[in-house]
């Protein structure tokens, strides 16, 4: 364009320095200090003890499960969405609940899954009897998947919409079965959407903390819960910061693995 000086750069860079670079630098800095303000590597040593490693592994495991189930539910839904007549309306209906306050939806699940809630009522009517649903792994994964579903459906849907239908017809014409067509043509071509969706679900799932509190009743401790606990309850900022540094590293790794598809797909 023109060789004029970029006058917008200075304020924007200032903003980024203030709200991205400095806070992250401070987190890294803080992670090297113990409770009394002395310099230490102790927080990282503590992070490598079995207690924290077990927590990290279980946190990653739950995030993996949540991502997997979200994908399993979302892919067919996105596929069905592309075949619908009133796509715009369906999309609107899909996005709408994601704009209802997260807390409110989680709160509703407390009622639905509660001892006298809707699900237990149904189970009793079926003769199975009341079960403890709240505060189990099941309720945690279910509610998390519920929360993340729209964020998985949207990128997959966009990828499916971009798919040229003649490719599918060609595969069918050449004798591929429906399943083969899906496996060899449709899925590989929508992989970018799947990656973007997985990234959009996995990273937040690693750091959930409010759902674990309310729905899983502290049974499930994720990295997010641990960070929140250290910062706001025990006030051990150094340890919290060390876990946060690990989470940041994990985030970068995932972004590299999924090719930061989201970054390029400006939606």
């Amino acid at each position: 364009m023109n060789a004029k000086r970029n006058v917008y750069l200075a304020p924007y860079l200032a903003w980024m320095a203030l709200f991205i670079v400095i806070p992250i630098a401070l987190i890294v800095y803080d992670s090297f200090f113990d409770l009394d303000g002395g310099f230490t590597f102790g927080n990282y040593e503590k992070f490598l003890t079995p207690i924290y490693l077990k927590m990290t592994v279980s946190s990653i495991w739950y995030a993996f499960l949540i991502t997997l189930f979200s994908l399993l539910v979302a892919y067919p839904a996105a596929y069905a969405l592309t075949r619908m007549k009133h796509k715009q309306l369906w999309l609107l209906l899909l996005i709408l609940p994601s704009w209802v306050n997260l807390l409110l939806k989680v709160y509703a699940f407390l009622g639905i899954f509660g001892t006298y809630g809707f699900v237990n009522g149904a189970l009793e009517a079926l003769g199975i009897g009341r079960q403890q649903i709240l505060f189990t792994d099941f309720s945690f994964v279910f509610v998390s998947v519920y929360i993340f579903i729209p964020f998985m459906i949207l990128p997959v849907y966009n990828a499916l919409e971009d798919l040229n239908p003649s490719l599918v017809f060609a595969a069918r014409d050449l004798g591929a079965s429906g399943w083969t067509t899906f496996r060899k043509v449709v899925f590989p071509l929508t992989l970018d959407g799947v990656k973007a969706g997985c990234q959009a679900v996995f990273i937040p799932a690693l750091s959930l903390f409010m759902i674990t509190r309310l729905v899983a009743g502290n049974r499930v401790i994720t990295l997010g819960t641990a960070i929140e606990q250290h910062f706001l309850v025990t006030q051990d900022w150094g340890m919290g910061a060390a876990i946060a540094v690990f989470l940041i590293i994990a985030m970068v790794v995932i972004m590299l693995l999924t090719g930061s598809g989201q970054a390029r797909r400006v939606r």
Binding site: L26, I27, V100
Partner: protein
Amino acid sequence: MSASRRLQSAYLIVVFAVLYAPIAYMVFYSFNSGGTMHGFEGFTLEYYGEVFQDARLLIIVLNTVVVALLSSTISTILGVVGALAIMRARTRRSRNALLSMNNVLIVSPDVIIGASLLVMFTMAGIRLGFTSVLLSHIAFSVPIVVLMVLPKLQEMSPTLIDAARDLGATGWQVLSRVVVPFIKPGIFAGFFMALTYSLDDFAVTFFVTGNGFSTLSVEIYSRARQGVSLSINALSALIFLFTLLIVLGYYVLNRRSAKRLGTGVPR
């Protein structure tokens, strides 16, 4: 073909039923005179009355709205500046660097944003409360606005600017008479996005809010932990209605610009 199509519709309907179940459940029981989220006894508007008599709650609603409006206005301005800065970047490399910096905040888990901003505010001596919450909301909203405005800027033909310059427009006139009107739909989309993100945010606010200041999400969280009160249900129903109105407004504006835009990225 029609059998599989029916199957697809059935599947979608199930997914959407689950998606809306908690919201419907919550709204339904807000009218329960029994006072619990199970065993519907009779219709009452008592809890809606309670909401409007609860001065503390109303102040919190006001806080939330003020923070949302202020933060989205400021972040819209900053976001437009940021998008212009990215567009004006001379080399492709610096443009990409700026973009990925922008995306850091978008993919960062809320816990990280919250914790790092908490560290920064504490160090800078900013008292936790209205200011810290407002600044944090601006921090996570700016990248969203940038992402919404940028595609519009990229769409704009550079010849428009050249023409304006040839005809003697000053830099400011080019911006206010040519660029801004062209990217207006993106600006509005960014503003609404920032607004909904701010209204919806829990995790970041939870970290940086002090004792004296609270937003709705934080308040609902603490009330839900204390136990079930149907005034929350009533409030939720009211907020849902309000959200519907915002979404409708957003879509009307969106429709007018007749451009496809997805939602943002999850938190």
